[in-house]
């Protein structure tokens, strides 16, 4: 069992389930993004998801786009991502996965990227625009390095594709709660519950729900059926308006939703 899968399983044994927290590297600066990620880990987040800024983030809503665009204009480099992973994992034991669009990984070289991430202490990669059908090279690299490969599953996915997503993924399957992009929503789609039930049918033992989750109440609700709740935009907004302290408070507040 990988470190990520184990962290999620542990959270499900001790509490209602896992809280996975997203922040982009380099927003508002690399140093502050590292402090903010550490604050997530120290305030009840079970798995850290670090986003690598990218010029054309088609899965991201306005809050995350704005943050990653700023990181890019401040001169973000992929090396900053590896450095951030190394520093965070040296300070906290919480596993860290990257979230990256495919082109930067492809240009860096899939094997080289995997090796660097592994060496930095990273645990895996979420690939929002890489479906398992196109992932032969990445699957081989993750087998070789032991990094988790986390693919997405959507309410629109056919049963056959859900089976494929479950079989191809390690660590967890990222269940897209609604037909949309990242961003806080007042109601998490009922589609999420159905999707997780279908993922269970497809054999998943580690399914986490993301997109649109912003309150402890929503975390609690999601964890009644899923193994983990993934939260992003609300942390980015907190960091943007109130700095690292606000991220710490938000994480502490959201993590109360994981208590049974």
């Amino acid at each position: 069992m990988s470190a990520v899968e184990e962290a999620i399983a542990q959270a499900n044994r001790d509490r209602a389930g896992a809280l996975i927290g997203y922040l982009p590297v380099g927003f508002p600066t690399v140093a502050e993004s590292i402090e903010a990620a550490v604050a997530l880990a120290e305030n009840g987040v079970d798995v850290i998801e670090l986003g690598l800024p990218y010029s054309d983030p088609v899965m991201d809503g306005p809050a995350i786009q704005k943050a990653t665009q700023l990181a890019l204009s401040n001169g973000f480099r992929l090396q900053d991502g590896f450095d951030a992973v190394a520093e965070i994992t040296s300070r906290v034991s919480t596993p860290v996965v990257l979230m990256s669009y495919w082109n930067p990984i492809m240009q860096y070289g899939v094997d080289r990227f995997a090796d660097e991430l592994k060496a930095a202490g990273g645990a895996g990669i979420i690939t929002p625009d890489l479906v398992s059908d196109e992932a032969t090279e990445w699957i081989a690299a993750s087998e070789r390095t032991g990094l988790d490969r986390i693919f997405l599953a959507a309410p629109s996915s056919s049963d056959e594709r859900l089976v494929r997503a479950v079989e191809a993924s390690t660590g967890f399957v990222y269940a897209v709660s609604t037909m949309g992009i990242t961003g806080a929503r007042s109601d998490v789609d009922i589609a999420a519950k159905t999707l997780v039930a279908r993922l269970r049918e497809a054999g998943s033992t580690s399914a986490c729900v993301g997109l649109g989750i912003s309150t402890a109440e929503q975390v609690r609700e999601v964890l009644t059926y899923a193994d983990g709740a993934i939260v992003g935009s609300v942390f980015v907004s907190a960091l943007s308006s109130g700095g690292v302290d606000a991220v710490a408070k938000t994480a502490a507040s959201l993590s109360t939703g994981t208590l049974a």
Binding site: D56, V58, N103, D129, V131, A154, S157, M179, I181
Partner: protein, 424 residues
């Protein structure tokens, strides 16, 4: 046969690099397209629309006065500028709108650069009674203001995109985001031969009519196939449309002209195939402009329709196998060709198409007076009047106009003083 390539891959290019949320919609579209392709009723319906609405077949026009400046080669234009809405874009739009209707979709999403594809999509939406939203980079809404007004008049909602470089690339991102969220009732009507499968092959097929018609027309006019077929390439839809019929004619050279902006060796250009390298952008693997870390580089061109850092995967393949040649044309060369065609032939081309004309001038000098060059005149220049007027300083400046007004009113006052009784 090169003509038989059906995707999802052209060599190593193409594929589907999109969020999982879109895969079902792409599968649905692919299935619907394959079914429609083999359905004579669909073909008949589209042909009837082209005959009675688009104005197909479009004519060809030989341009001898222009050709004098191109080494004396025979140059023949395929007149896609004469189509309804003013460019080749309508060919693909009507095809996809018919498909969307078959799929029961009631809303069309489109991206647009120059506005030609947005206008064509807004037109189809009006014709079919669908709602329509067009994403357009904020920069482009400014330089193509007339097309924004056209789209709004046709009933479409035009949303200026303020993210990233605020041009076509970012409009596509926004269109894809909209589609991810509204895939149940909406069809994303991609305007070029880029994007995830099946768009590159489907959009090409809807534009094949350009080359199919032109091949026959040129043979009828000259008794033989042309020596070269040329087109401008941004995403590459008009080029694929005219190239396709000639792919397996080994003696016909194919030339795609990219926008080199201020020069392909400067940092301000859109010469994707000349200066880019393979990567993944907007759902497909293809050549693209990117930095060492895979971040997309912003492109630059005076032509909004060619101002795109990516290109369709089939073009990348045709380049790599050596079947087509791709060369850069600067803003200055294109604008010169635009003025030349206007003055020698009385045809004002779109700035996009002027890149193909500038290429034809160079190519004609290379191939010589016995050669025949077929040029896809993909669009007309009405939409570019503001850019052209500014570029060539064609409109009197405010100061000049005010001075002229003053002169006229002074003269009028003087006349009235000299002949005070005239009014009575």
């Amino acid at each position: 046969m090169l003509k038989d390539e059906l995707g999802p891959y052209f060599g190593e290019f193409g594929g589907r690099f999109v969020p999982e949320s879109l895969i079902a919609a792409l599968d649905e579209l692919d299935a619907a397209y394959n079914e429609a392709k083999n359905d004579p009723e669909f073909a008949a319906e589209l042909a009837e629309l082209h005959a009675s609405y688009t104005g197909r077949p479009s004519i060809i026009t030989e341009i001898p006065r222009f050709a004098e400046h191109a080494g004396g080669a025979r140059i023949i234009l395929k007149r896609e500028d004469l189509n309804h809405t003013g460019s080749h874009k309508i060919n693909n739009v009507l095809g996809q709108a018919l498909l969307a209707r078959r799929l029961g979709k009631t809303r069309l999403i489109a991206e647009t650069g120059a506005g030609q594809h947005g206008v064509a999509t807004a037109t189809a939406a009006a014709l079919f009674g669908m709602s329509c939203v067009v994403y357009m980079g904020e920069v482009d809404t400014e330089r193509q203001a007339l097309n924004v007004a056209r789209m709004r008049l046709l009933g479409a909602e035009v949303i200026p995109v303020t993210a990233g470089s605020r041009t076509l690339k970012d409009a596509i991102n926004e269109g894809l985001r909209d589609w991810v969220a509204n895939v149940d009732d909406s069809h994303y009507l991609m305007g070029t031969v880029a994007g995830p499968h099946p768009f590159p092959v489907m959009v090409r097929d809807f534009h094949r009519v350009i080359g199919d018609e032109a091949r026959e027309q040129v043979v009828k006019l000259t008794g033989a196939l042309p020596d070269a077929v040329v087109a401008c390439v941004g995403g590459g839809s008009n080029a694929m449309g005219i190239f396709h019929a000639f792919l397996d004619d080994a003696d016909v050279a194919l030339y795609g002209y990219e926008a080199a902006g201020e020069g392909h060796l400067t940092e301000r250009h859109a010469a994707t195939l000349t200066r880019g390298r393979p990567g993944v952008l907007h759902g497909a693997r293809s050549y693209m402009l990117q930095d060492a870390e895979g971040q997309t580089i912003e492109s630059h061109s005076i032509s909004a329709g060619l101002d795109y850092p990516g290109v369709g995967p089939e073009h990348s393949w045709l380049k790599d196998i050596g079947r087509a040649n791709y060369e850069p044309i600067t803003d200055a060369e294109a604008m010169e060709a635009l003025r030349l065609l206007s003055r020698t032939e009385g045809i004002i081309p779109a700035i996009e198409s002027a890149h193909a004309l500038a290429g034809a001038i160079k190519l004609g000098k290379e191939l010589g007076p016995d050669s025949v060059i077929l040029v896809n005149l993909s669009g007309r220049g009405d939409k570019d009047m503001e850019t052209a007027a500014e570029y060539f300083d064609l409109i009197d400046s405010a100061e000049k106009a005010a001075a002229a007004d003053k002169k006229a009113s002074d003269k009028k006052a003087a006349d009235e003083q000299n002949a005070p009784g005239e009014k009575a």
